[in-house]
């Protein structure tokens, strides 16, 4: 017998653990085999009962058949989720979207993320570590307190040759500045064969622009306002693409055709706004 699981149906899960990552970021761990098998950059639609439903990247968990989400406290929806406690119930559906593609011939990738944009890179790091690939990571935060996942990341990558670069805008830790400052510097010194990135769109746009002169392939995981997550509402559209279905990951040739990348996004009502 084949088990037909409809990933679109909401699965209620119990919050088993809440991890404080920083004053404004928490990770919520739950048991869900489908999510534990998510590919890097896939996301869940997370139901916060009677409050909101929000797209959230699937975070790794070291427990078998478990996965997690990492939330930055922001507006109404994320704050409601942020306030959830152990044993509370949330709903999830997915995982959705395409994912970071890791080719067998990959030799020297660089991963660049900022804030919760690091979440997909955590799962990617796990994959790279298993594949015994050398890798470089640039992770950005505003200040030391907001640096996410550094310890786990070091652990994941402990078995492979890694270069972890941390940037803080206030210089309270690591390199002072933003991730692109560090990227500019390292691109001059080292040859990479893939850039993986997730984070604020303007950051990714700068990274994309930096990649062009070096002809380095890039995979960027985009965010857009998402209502359905399943390709029916178009609230997530960027040009003629649906970020939830055709993305979230786009490569350099796709990005070159997305005139709205780094420029236009749509709000709840579908009106275009400009970065």
């Amino acid at each position: 017998m084949v088990l037909h699981i409809n990933i679109d149906k909401i699965r209620t899960v119990v919050i088993e653990e809440v991890i404080e990552e920083s004053p404004s970021v928490k990770t919520i761990v739950f048991n869900d085999r489908l999510s534990s098998n998510a590919k890097p950059a896939q996301f869940l639609m997370v139901w916060i009962p009677r409050k909101e439903e929000l797209p959230m990247s699937v975070m790794i968990s070291n427990k078998k058949d478990h996965a997690a989400i990492t939330i930055r406290k922001h507006g109404f929806g994320s704050t409601s989720l942020f306030e959830k406690k152990q044993n509370d119930l949330i709903g999830i559906r997915g995982p959705y979207g395409n994912y970071f593609n890791v080719s067998k011939s990959l030799k020297n990738p660089i991963l660049i993320g900022g804030g919760t944009g690091l979440v997909p890179l955590m799962r990617l790091s796990t994959v790279l570590s298993k594949m015994q690939r050398r890798c470089t990571i640039i992770m950005g935060a505003q200040t030391q307190k907001e640096i996410l996942f550094k310890v786990i990341l070091e652990e994941i990558l402990s078995k492979i040759s890694t270069n972890i670069i941390v940037t803080t805008e206030d210089g309270s830790y690591g390199v002072k500045g933003v991730v692109t400052d560090a990227l500019k510097y390292i691109l001059k010194k080292e040859k990479f064969d893939m850039i993986y990135t997730c984070g604020p769109e303007l950051m990714m746009k700068s990274i994309y622009n930096l990649s062009i002169p070096y002809s380095i392939p890039i995979q960027a995981s985009l965010e857009r306002y998402m209502k359905c997550g399943i390709g029916i509402c178009a609230s997530c559209c960027i040009n003629d693409k649906l970020v939830c279905k055709d993305g979230t990951v786009f490569n350099e040739s796709q990005l070159s055709e997305l005139s709205e990348f780094g420029k236009v996004f749509r709000d709840k009502s579908g009106r275009p706004s400009y970065y």
């Binding site: 409809n6 679109d8 149906k9 909401i10 209620t12 639609m45 139901w47 009962p49 009677r50 409050k51 909101e52 439903e53 929000l54 109404f76 929806g77 119930l89 709903g91 559906r93 209502k227 359905c228 399943i230 390709g231 029916i232 509402c233 178009a234 609230s235 559209c237 040009n239 003629d240 649906l242 279905k245 749509r266 709000d267 709840k268 009502s269 579908g270 009106r271 275009p272």
Partner: protein, 320 residues
Amino acid sequence: MKNNSSSLTTPNIKSFYNSSNMLSIDLAGIHLKNPLLLASGFLGISQEIFNRLYHDGLGAIVSKSISVGPLDGYKGPTVVSLGEKGYLNAVGLANPGSDVFAHEIMNNQIPLIVSIVGSSQSDFPKLISKFDKLNILGYEINLSCPHVAKMGMEVGDDLDLVTKIIKTIKSKTKKPVIVKVGIGNTDVLKLASKIQESGADAITAINTIRAMAINVETGMPILSNKVGGLSGIPLKPIGVRCVFEITKKVNIPVIGCGGIFTWEDAVEYILAGATAIELGSVIGFEGLKAFNEIKLGITRYLEKKNCKNIKEIIGLAHKY
């Protein structure tokens, strides 16, 4: 439409039929290359997406229902998958509003029908004035959204108001006006007659049906609006019945909508009397490839039944 047993095994033999001609239809004075329309509310807010959908095989696009001003809609969840190929939605008619949307479709080149929705009679002339000079085929009036107070269904249930709205719109535009109906608190057949009397050019049947889902683990309604509209396969037998009964009652063309997932579903609606059909929920399950699969299936069916054009099978079920 007699069964021809030899063509059963060789459905593609009649290569001299041009399949694009086979599927072309005329709907309220509009010529369409095929009878597959996008249902309102699906992917319907961006010109670039419209272009993509058109190139993926649709005969025409119906936009998201547009109101005078922008609407943010409800908080999430706004769409709930029910399994069994059905959805519950209460999007709350989120849309960018008529100004922004008119700007969006300013340079439109594809067959586009603008769906409009209003909370009072006076909204409709405003909406028409925004769109009437643009390159669009016509309008679909949404009188049947089952989950937004004072819009959609609450209008559709008031027969006198329906008459007034249609007459106002018809006095402001020469473009065809399609009215979309649903299963509300009024007899849908009486409503259809009123729509025809009031001068509308076509009817779309049906919109979603008021419905609800409760999550058993939390005990809570899932949709943020609690109540929403049911779409997808569960609707099909109800939609087919409405098309059958409405086309028995009125002479204006009817567009079938509700739970069309396969070519058989499309043909079933057409046999029931639909001149064209709208596709919505299928997109969530099958993606955009569904359009060409449905067209191919209809074409093969017409070949097998020795029909030269899809028009020959419209309403055939009424014969029996």
